[in-house]
C-alpha cells in the first residue's frame, strides 16, 4: 500500500531520480501499474463504450442538422457551381411563393389529425378489451400486431387497390348496396381518408399493445375498490384507466405526431409511386415536397429550408398535442 502511494506522489511531484529508484523494486511497481491501468480502465473505458454511438451520431445526426441550417441560408443547386448567402430568402420562397409547400402543410396536418385521433381511440378500446380475462392472450396480441409485418410500401400497394376507383373493393361494395362509386384519389378529403386508413391499419395494433402494457401496471386494488363502491366497468375505464394511462397516452401521441408529420410513403404509393400527390397535389405531404425539390429540382438550399420548417412544425404539433392530451386525460 505505502509503496504505491509513494510512486504515485513521485509521479505527481515530477519525479526526482532517487524516488524513482525506490519505486523500482519489482513487485510493488507491477502492482502500481496494474492499479493505474485499473483506474484508467474504470475512468476511461465508459467513454470508450459510449463513443461509437456518439461519434456516429455526430457524423450522421448532428453534423447534417447543422449543415442543413447552413445550406438553407444559401442559394445552392446541384450542378451549379458557387453558392451565395441569401439570408432567409429560401424560407420566404417556400412560405409565400411556392404554394405547394403551404398546401403540403395543410395536407399533412389534415391527414395526421384524421389518422391519429381515431387510431388512438381505437387502440385504447382494443387494449381495454385485451386487458379483460381473455384466454389465448398471446394469440390475440399477435393478431392485432400482424399488420406491422407489412412494409409501408406493401401497405400502400394493397390499400391503393382496395380504395381503387374502378376495381377497388370499397367501391365495389358501395355499388353493391346501391351507392355511386367514389373517385377516392380525386378529392382532398376522400384521399386523406383513404391514406389515413393505411396509417391506422398499420399502427393501431402496435399502439394498443403499448396501452395494454401500461394498463397491466395499474394496481388491481384501484379497480377492486371501485367495484366495491358500485362503479360500472365504463365508469372505471374513464375514472381509473384513462387518468392512469396519461403519461403513456402523451408519449404515444408524441410519437404519432412525429411519425404523422413525416408521412411520405403512403401518399406516394397511393398515387402509383409519384411525388406529386395527386392531380392538384391534394394529398402531397411536406416530406414529398422536400424530396421533390431535392430530387427533381436539385435545389439544396430550398429543400434544406423545407427540412427546417418541417422540423418546426413537428415541434409545434408535438407541443399542441401535449397540451390537448394533458387537458383531456387530466380532467378527471
Amino acid at each position: 500500500m505505502s509503496t504505491t502511494t509513494t510512486t504515485e506522489s513521485a509521479k505527481g511531484s515530477a519525479a526526482g531520480p532517487p524516488q524513482t529508484k525506490s519505486g523500482k523494486s519489482v513487485p510493488p511497481d507491477q502492482r502500481s501499474w496494474r492499479l493505474r491501468l485499473n483506474r484508467a480502465d474504470i475512468k476511461g473505458t465508459p467513454y470508450a463504450l459510449v463513443a461509437p454511438y456518439f461519434l456516429l451520431f455526430m457524423v450522421f445526426g448532428l453534423f447534417p442538422m447543422a449543415y442543413t441550417m447552413y445550406a438553407s441560408l444559401h442559394t445552392w443547386k446541384i450542378g451549379v457551381p458557387g453558392r451565395e448567402f441569401v439570408g432567409l430568402q429560401n424560407y420566404s420562397f417556400l412560405l409565400f411563393e411556392y404554394e405547394r409547400f403551404g398546401w403540403s402543410i395543410v395536407n399533412t396536418l389534415g391527414m395526421f389529425a384524421m389518422a391519429t385521433v381515431p387510431q388512438l381511440i381505437c387502440a385504447l378500446m382494443v387494449a381495454n378489451a385485451l386487458n379483460k380475462r381473455l384466454k389465448r392472450q398471446m394469440f390475440w396480441r399477435m393478431l392485432v400486431l400482424a399488420p406491422i409485418v407489412t412494409s409501408v410500401v406493401a401497405v400502400g400497394v394493397i390499400f391503393a387497390r382496395i380504395w381503387g376507383q374502378e376495381y377497388g373493393m370499397i367501391n365495389g361494395f358501395l355499388e353493391l348496396i346501391g351507392l355511386d362509386a367514389v373517385n377516392w384519389q380525386a378529392g382532398r378529403f376522400s384521399s386523406w381518408f383513404a391514406i389515413s386508413s393505411m396509417v391506422d391499419w398499420r399502427w393501431m395494433g402496435y399502439n394498443s399493445l403499448i396501452f395494454l402494457a401500461a394498463m397491466q401496471t395499474i394496481p388491481r386494488q384501484l379497480y377492486e375498490a371501485a367495484t366495491v363502491d358500485g362503479a360500472s366497468q365504463r365508469q372505471q375505464f374513464w375514472s381509473i384507466t384513462i387518468p392512469q394511462l396519461k403519461p403513456v397516452i402523451i408519449f404515444t401521441a408524441f410519437i404519432s405526431s412525429v411519425g404523422g408529420m413525416m408521412l411520405f410513403v403512403e401518399p406516394m404509393m397511393f398515387d402509383a409511386g409519384r411525388l406529386s400527390g395527386g392531380s392538384d397535389g391534394q394529398f402531397q405531404t411536406t416530406s414529398m415536397v422536400l424530396v421533390d425539390i431535392l430530387r427533381t429540382h436539385g435545389n439544396y438550399g430550398v429543400s434544406a429550408a423545407a427540412g427546417w420548417l418541417l422540423f418546426l412544425v413537428i415541434g409545434l404539433v408535438a407541443a399542441v398535442n401535449f397540451l390537448i392530451v394533458n387537458r383531456i386525460s387530466g380532467s378527471k
Binding site: R34, L56, T68, Q137, M138, V149, L176, T227
Partner: protein, 309 residues
Amino acid sequence: MTATLNPAPAPAAGSKPPKRKKPKQHQEVESGAGLFAPSMMTRVGLLAVGVLSVFPLYWMVVIASTTTSNASGFPPALLPGGNLGRNLEQALTDPNADLLLGLRNSIIITGTVTISVVLISTLGGFAFAKLKFKGSKVLMGTVLFTMMVPLQHLGLVPLYMVMIELGWLDTLQAAILPFLVNGFGIFMMRQYCIQSVPDEIIEAARIDGASTLGIWWRIVLPALRPGMVVLALLTFMLNWNEFLWPFMVLSGENPTVQLAIRQLSTATWSADLSMVFTGTLISIVPIAVLFVIFGRQIVGGIMEGSTKS
C-alpha cells in the same frame, strides 16, 4: 387453505410449497390479468379487429395466387387460386424490377445495420446502466433526445449532398451508414442491463481483476442475450421496411426490396395486379417468418419497452 385459494393447483405444487406463488402469478399474466370477464360485445369487437388486421394480408396472398383477370373483377377473388408458383417465377424474373437483387441488397443492408445497432447498443447501454462516469446523465439525456427527434429526416438534405460528393450514390454503404446507431437501442439495452445484471456480480468481477471490457464480454453480454434478440428483431423489421433514405440514394439499378416493389407497381400499375401483389408478398416473407417464429418475443419487447419509458 392454499387449496381453497387455488382451486386448480399445478401438478408440481406439492413438491415446492414456498415457490408456489410465482408460477401462479405468471400464469395469470399469461391468460389476461384483467379483473373482468369479456362481454359478448368485447369478443365480437375483438374478432372484428382481428379480421380487419389480417384481411389485407390474406387478400394479398389471394391475389398473388390468382390470375390478373380473376383479380380485377367484382366480386373480387376471395379464395386463393393455384397460380402462386407461376406468379412467383414471373415476379422474380420481371424485367421491370430486380426483385432478387433487391432481396439480396436488403439482406446485406438490414443485416449490417442490425449487427451494428445491437453491438453498439450493448456497449453503450452497459456503460449507462452500470458504470459511473462524469457527464453520463447529460449524455444519456442526449440519447433520449435523439430518440425523439427525426434526425435522419432533418439531415436528409446534407446527407444526400455528402453522398453525392463522395460519389456514393447507388452504393450500399450510402444506404447503411446513417442507420448504424440508434438511440432507442441504447435506451433499451440500458433498461435490460439495469434489470438483469446485479451490481454485486460486477463488483465481484472487479475484485477478481476483470477489466471493464472483460466484464462486458463475460457477464453483461450473456445476461443481455434475450434483450439483444428482441432488439435485433425490432431493428431488423424497422430497417427492412425503411423506404425514404434508400429511395434517395439508390436507383432502380441497385434497389432494396422495397424500392423494387415500388418499381414493379409503378411500371405495371394498371396492367398486372397479381404480379405486383406477388412481389409484395415476396417482400414480406422474411419479416413474416420472423414474426411467426419470434412473435412472442416481439410482442414482449414492444410491451416491455413501453412501460419503462
